[in-house]
């Protein structure tokens, strides 16, 4: 009798743990679906427009269609792709092409550093080395905005859903842009070229943290100035200078006013 009672309580415990596990999985699946749903709409449109515009420029400059489209899949960073294409066409030595691309990609180091600690501790395993390839301007900007409203355990599935959906358009977008470059009317190309920077500019409007806003303002001013001074190191210099000034300035200002 006693044994029976104990086994039934074990069974209840087992069923309860299964239910908890199931609820956990279902919740994460909901977060993943939400990520996919959020990707459809302006983020996907923005990425698609950028890729179509890049593909059509690559066609006009006589770059190979497969190298162009696979670049969108494996580099998945338009500024780096543009730098690579322009330098290869100009006949620059390979080492300088790689160094220039490395400098434009340096932003990914800090982008991943700021994104990864927001995931649940259990999710911060080797799988992140797979998902990190999907970190790009769009997925970073949207994640930084959405993560505070999500529970830590829902953030990785949300990011995976969002970023995979956006990444999957990169190949068809670039390929279509390459072959449609002569079909797209000239005036439409202007819209395709503007939509990317405009999206990033508009996502800054949603920032609530004063420190981040100051960093953005300094970056907006320093970007073109440092580019005219030295195009290759421009991003790194404006990021380090603008970011440090904003961090330090708001800290000192806050201390003086408290």
């Amino acid at each position: 009798m006693k044994y029976n009672h104990r086994s039934s309580s074990y069974l209840t415990l087992f069923v309860m743990s299964l239910k908890v596990r199931l609820a956990h999985v279902l919740h994460r699946r909901t977060a993943l679906k939400r990520g996919v749903r959020d990707a459809f709409g302006s983020p996907m449109l923005v990425l698609l427009a950028g890729m179509v515009a890049y593909g059509s420029v690559a066609h006009q400059q006589g770059f190979d269609p497969w190298v162009t489209s696979l670049g969108s899949v494996f580099i998945f960073a338009l500024p780096g792709q543009v730098v690579m294409q322009e330098m290869v066409i100009a006949g620059a030595p390979l080492i300088s092409v790689v160094l220039a691309v490395l400098l434009t990609a340096s932003r990914f180091v800090t982008m991943s550093i700021t994104l990864m600690p927001q995931f649940q501790h259990r999710d911060r395993g080797p799988l992140l080395y797979l998902f990190v390839h999907l970190v790009a301007m769009t997925s970073w900007a949207v994640s930084m905005r959405t993560f505070p409203s999500l529970r830590a355990k829902d953030r990785l599935p949300y990011f995976a859903g969002f970023a995979t959906a956006v990444w999957l358009v990169s190949f068809p977008g670039t390929f279509a842009g390459y072959w449609l470059s002569e079909e797209v009317p000239g005036w439409m190309g202007y819209g395709l070229a503007l939509i990317n920077p405009l999206f990033f500019l508009l996502s800054f409007v949603e920032l609530r943290s004063r420190t981040s806003l100051v960093a953005v303002l300094l970056g907006l001013i320093l970007g073109p100035v440092t580019y005219l001074w030295d195009p290759t190191s421009s991003l790194l210099v404006s990021g380090l200078l603008g970011g440090t000034l904003a961090y330090w300035g708001v800290k000192v200002w806050g201390r003086g006013h408290s």
Partner: protein, 110 residues
């Protein structure tokens, strides 16, 4: 420019770009979301992204370069105002307004 060179360049550029992303994951394992380092690194990232954005608007490489700076600024300003005062789907509205304006400009003046 030979196809071989472009393929080698593509592979190397993909590798260094991934290396930067992976380096971020590696370095992030010691960073906590509440630390001062996290705050500083996010400031640096915001400044970098803002720098890239403003370069794409002020010193564009493609067709946008033929639109005068004042027109680019007015278009971005209108989109920011819509974004700031808009309510539902304000991002879509602001983007659509900006794209419509630049396309109209190109249609009439280019």
């Amino acid at each position: 420019m030979s196809l071989g060179t472009s393929i080698v360049a593509l592979i190397l550029c993909a590798l260094v770009t991934y290396a930067c992303r992976a380096a971020g994951v590696m370095l992030s394992s010691r960073v906590s979301q509440t630390s001062e380092i996290f705050l500083w690194v996010s400031c640096v990232t915001y400044a970098m992204i803002a720098a890239l954005t403003s370069r794409m608007i002020f010193l564009p490489s493609g067709v946008l370069a033929t639109v005068p700076v004042w027109a680019r600024l007015v278009i971005c300003g209108v989109a920011i105002v819509i974004m700031h005062f808009g309510r539902r789907n304000r991002m879509v509205g602001a983007l659509a307004a900006g794209v419509a304006l630049v396309c109209t400009y190109a249609y009439w003046f280019q």
